[in-house]
């Protein structure tokens, strides 16, 4: 109807024509001057009138079009007029990174506010329906099906809380698209309210599953609540350097990372049993994780509840890392000397003993976490192994039947065995053992030590080689050629091929074999400075002492294990919020095993259980720090990935509801038309006055038009 008003466009034309056709006749003495002036002004006047006419036509056209309130409808909106019934799926990210606090509000608060706005766009009269999915590590719908009661959905959204999990976009989107298949509403929208963390999209982009969706695709709106370069510092992990033994200092290493722009200075605080014990300042920069050491010693053996904490930042949940540290008494190791000597330094285990307990040279007991006890091979059958975690047999020719049974039982009960070979070893006897990790053949290398072999490839990630133990300068004069069994793992081998260190699991225990000797007869290893840390790590690793601290991530399963005879003893687990759960162990082989899966809250979990159960002293749960990396996926990357997916990334989440409404109704063109109209009105006034204005130039008044021409070097119009 309003378009009829476009006829008004003819008004300026009519005015223009009237202007040029009808004019008052004035009798004048002479028109000789007027002719000259008119000749000069004609071009300018014509131009002005044409411009003014065009401007007025434009102005009228804009006003008329504006009054018609036009909207631009895309293909999608054209198919979705404003009153179409809508099915909406709201995916709200409630991973713990949404707890990042900005300007007094968490990102989740802002997301909930936008969600409420979006819910307000639904109309009961259209029978619109909505499904809300909370997105974290998994997708958690607030209701099982679409809801039409928007008020109750809004209340549920208001009640939604942060989770302690990371983000997994793909599962939530899969659920949303699946829900959309169940609805028959003509207009379908999925709204994803998230902080666009990069890692949360990796899996999705790899899966590429959205592109496989069939037409017609629902519209996907993504509102980002993240901000580039948001600062966050967090503790990625904790490790304990060496062993944690009562009375001996331990070094706790905290791996701290930071992202975004912020101060690199921070302070780490170690608390033991809720008491602050140590504090250390440090500096950490984005992209360069820092290993922050904290020295601590425990007087008594036992299990300690520890935590390391950073200064509080905008995301507090990852500023503290809790763990349990079990401090043992000394580790007792039984060394079986296969070639003893009355001269101590000539015995097979001399260097091993010194390395395991350097203080033994001075006759002192303290100073080492490992206490070796050496016996001869003949004493083995008479010695109980119950008190030992690890047995080391050096250059023993063979084991008799009793000894073999004892060792096998020891291994099956979780003990560990380290075998050093030598010139007394009978390969054929060894190859008969069930627990041997490799089949031995002949001895390679020269006994006169005129030539030697060097270490070649090692497994750098193996715990015994952690921290760059350099074996390259170690000379191996002789060793057994060994062919590892299928279940065995080669940890180190010589440069020309034969493996030197091989390990395998046996029962619940572990066997490690070194194909050269523990003394200087076959290698220079005992004289190398790496010998001491190497054998310490071997013993620590083999006796399981490395795993002395326990920390779980949110969502991990915690296992309680004891011998099968404890199957009837229930276990009580109390969450950090005080909720108690009772577990009943199940028989699993020779063990009674119970599992606890409800590790959703980070913090300290109390456990009441028989002392033989693992984790009987409680355990700690920490957030999965992948979520702490707030680095956002680049919008451009996301747009490229979502190309052709009918997806829109809303850069200002606060205006999401308005933009969505616009997308439904089309883009309102008329405000722009009125603004343009106003602009053209101003231009019209400007043009009309500019052409009439005169300026003084060299004492002469001249029209601005001519003056400008003169300034441009064109000279005055004729």
């Amino acid at each position: 109807m309003f378009l009829v008003g476009l006829g008004a466009l003819s008004v300026p034309v009519i005015i223009h024509l009237m202007h040029s056709t009808k004019a008052q006749v004035v009798r004048f003495g002479t028109i000789r001057f007027l002719k000259n002036c008119q000749r000069r002004a004609a071009r300018r006047t014509r131009l002005k009138q044409l411009i003014l006419m065009a401007l007025r036509m434009l102005l009228l056209a804009l006003i008329v079009l504006g009054m018609a309130k036009p909207v631009i409808q895309s293909e999608d909106t054209a198919a979705s007029p404003a009153d179409l019934s809508t099915a909406m799926v709201l995916i709200i990210d409630n991973s713990y990174s949404m707890g990042y606090r900005e300007e007094g509000k968490t990102r989740l608060d802002r997301a909930k506010s936008v969600a409420a706005d979006l819910l307000d766009t639904l109309k009961e009269s259209n029978e619109d329906e909505v499904l809300v999915i909370m997105m974290n590590k998994k997708a958690e719908p607030l209701h099982q099906e679409f809801q039409r009661d928007v008020a109750s959905v809004k209340a549920a959204v208001r009640r939604a809380k942060l989770s302690n999990h990371g983000t997994e976009v793909s599962s939530a989107l899969s659920m949303a698209y699946a829900a959309m298949h169940r609805t028959s509403k003509p207009r379908r929208e999925i709204h994803l309210l998230t902080d666009l963390q990069f890692y949360s999209w990796e899996k999705l982009l790899e899966m590429n599953f959205i592109k496989a969706e069939e037409e017609p695709r629902p519209r996907l709106f993504i509102s980002s609540f993240g901000r580039p370069k948001s600062h966050n510092s967090f503790i990625r992990n904790i490790s304990v350097s060496g062993t944690a033994v009562g009375g001996i200092g331990s070094k706790i290493l905290a791996e701290v990372e930071t992202v975004g722009a912020g101060s690199p200075d921070n302070v780490i605080t170690l608390s033991v049993n809720s008491k602050k014990k140590e504090q250390a300042p440090f500096t950490v920069r984005p992209g360069a994780p820092a290993q922050v050491p904290v020295e601590v010693s425990f007087d008594e053996p036992g299990t300690y509840r520890c935590s390391v904490a950073l200064n509080k930042d905008s995301l507090t949940v990852d500023d503290t890392f809790e763990f349990s540290l079990t401090v043992d008494d000394r580790v007792t190791v039984l060394c079986v000397d296969g070639d003893p000597s009355s001269v101590a330094s000539l015995s097979e285990t001399f260097f091993l003993n010194v390395a395991l307990n350097p203080a033994s040279l001075t006759g002192l007991r303290a100073g080492s976490a490992i206490e070796p006890n050496t016996i001869s091979l003949g004493e083995l059958s008479r010695t109980s192994l119950d008190a030992y975690k690890c047995v080391i047999i050096c250059n023993a020719p063979l084991l008799n039947g009793n000894e073999l049974v004892k060792i096998e039982a020891f291994l099956k009960s979780g003990g560990s065995l380290i075998l050093f070979l030598g010139d007394r070893v009978r390969a054929r006897e060894y190859n008969e053992w069930d627990f041997i990790p490799a089949t031995l053949s002949d001895v390679t290398g020269r006994a006169d030590k005129r030539s030697f072999m060097s270490f070649g490839r090692i497994s750098p990630r193996h715990p015994i080689f952690a921290g760059n133990l350099d074996l390259r300068t170690t000379k191996v004069f002789r060793c057994f050629n060994a062919k590892p069994h299928d279940k065995a793992r080669t940890i180190a081998e010589l440069r020309n091929g034969p493996p030197v260190i091989i390990e395998r699991d046996y029962g619940t225990g572990r066997v490690m074999m070194i194909t050269t000797s523990a003394d200087l007869a076959w290698s220079s290893l005992p004289l190398r400075r790496i010998f001491v840390p190497l054998v310490h790590r071997m013993v620590t690793y083999m006796s399981g002492r490395k795993a002395m601290f326990h920390a779980y991530s949110v969502g991990n399963t915690v296992e309680f294990r004891a011998l099968a005879r404890h199957y009837d003893k229930s276990i009580k687990v109390v969450t950090p919020k005080g909720a108690a759960t009772y577990l009943r162990p199940q028989i699993n082989g020779s063990y009674a095993v119970a599992t606890f899966t409800d590790t959703v809250e980070p913090g300290r979990y109390k456990v009441v259980a028989h002392p033989d159960f693992s984790n009987c002293n409680g355990f700690s749960v920490n957030p999965d720090v992948k979520e702490s990396d707030l680095t956002m996926i680049q919008t451009r990357t996301l747009e490229k990935e979502l190309e052709g997916l009918n997806a829109t990334i809303l850069k200002v989440p606060g205006k999401a509801a308005a933009e969505v409404a616009e997308s439904r109704e089309g883009w309102k063109l008329w405000p722009l038309l009125f603004k343009l109209g106003l602009l053209f009105f101003c231009i019209e006034i400007l043009v009309a006055n500019l052409f009439s204005r005169t300026v003084e130039h060299e004492g002469l008044q001249m029209p601005l038009f001519d003056y400008l021409k003169l300034r441009r070097g064109g000279g005055l119009a004729e």
């Binding site: 004019a23 006749v25 004035v26 004048f28 002479t30 028109i31 002036c37 008119q38 008044q701």
Partner: protein, 301 residues
């Protein structure tokens, strides 16, 4: 006839007569009259104003002999004096179509008639002779100079009867008049000079070559001088009938420049030729202008 006379009388209104009563006009140059008068004559005589010496010839009155020269050079020289004569004034009035333009009720032609009446009255009143030539493309009417009141009346009647309409060719009229007048006198040209300035100036110069005392009254309407038009209009040329459509607002400045240039051309040329040039706005009452002009001229003469 009666109507024409009645109309012509308005040119000599009581106000005009009152203003003109005590005024006179004198020629700035010598003029050739037939009787002794108030104006300088080119002919030398024996009046009171010394002009030159000449050698004594037999028959000269000895009272004019310059004894001082004789005492110095023993030669006889007679002192000659300026001879005064009466003035013959010729008023040339333009009756072309453009002179009919009137923005405030009184056309330029009508204004010229008032000036003519006032001047003629003054001239005749001071016992000089006034003549009249009415021209447009050519001389339409000519009254030789006379110093009688009836002659004045006849001239005014003739002015009333003319209706300005034709195109103008001022230069032709001026050249014709310049050739026609044998004796030097005063030439008063009353016109809007809406002609090619170059040609008109040549015509004026022609008079100067003939040693006439030339006065130009350049009569222009107030609207022509100030161009106060606002609305877009079609202007009709009153002489040629040509039409032109203009937006007065947009050309006002240029019009003023054109007009100034036009007037300056005349001013400069008249100054260079010793012609008394005055631009007159018809908004000023003719008797007021004449009184002011004659007073001013009398002071300068």
């Amino acid at each position: 006839m009666r109507t024409a006379r009645a109309d012509s009388r308005r040119f000599l209104s009581p106000e005009m007569l009152k203003k003109m009563a005590h005024l006179s006009i004198k020629s700035r140059t010598v003029v050739e009259g037939s009787v002794t008068g108030a104006h300088r004559s080119p002919y030398k005589g024996f009046s009171t104003e010394f002009a030159d010496h000449r050698e004594y010839v037999k028959g000269d009155d000895l009272k004019h002999l310059d004894w001082r020269i004789y005492a110095r050079s023993e030669r006889h020289y007679i002192k000659q004096y300026e001879e005064n004569t009466n003035l013959k004034a010729y008023i040339l009035i333009d009756s072309s179509g453009s002179m009919a333009y009137a923005s405030n009720g009184m056309s330029k032609y009508e204004y010229a008639c008032y000036l003519t009446a006032g001047l003629s009255y003054t001239i005749i009143n001071q016992q000089d002779s006034a003549g009249l030539a009415i021209f447009d493309e050519k001389i339409q009417n000519y009254f030789p100079p006379k110093s009688t009141v009836s002659h004045l009346r006849a001239m005014l009647d003739a002015l009333v009867e003319v209706r300005p309409a034709a195109e103008t060719d001022t230069s032709v009229a001026l050249h014709t008049m310049a050739e026609m007048l044998k004796r030097r006198g005063m030439i008063v040209i009353i016109s809007d000079l809406m002609d090619e300035p170059e040609h008109v100036i040549k015509g004026l110069a022609h008079f100067k070559q003939r040693r006439h005392d030339v006065i130009v009254f350049h009569v222009l309407d107030d609207y022509e001088l100030n161009f106060p038009f606002e609305k877009n209009s079609e202007f009709l040329d009153m002489e040629t009938g040509e039409r032109i459509r203009v937006a007065p607002k947009e050309i006002k400045q240029e019009y003023a420049q054109e007009l100034t240039q036009f007037l300056d051309t005349y001013k400069r040329a008249c100054f260079e030729n010793g012609i008394d040039y005055v631009t007159i706005n018809t908004k000023i009452r003719p008797e007021v202008f004449l009184a002011a002009y004659l007073t001013g001229r009398a002071k300068l003469t």
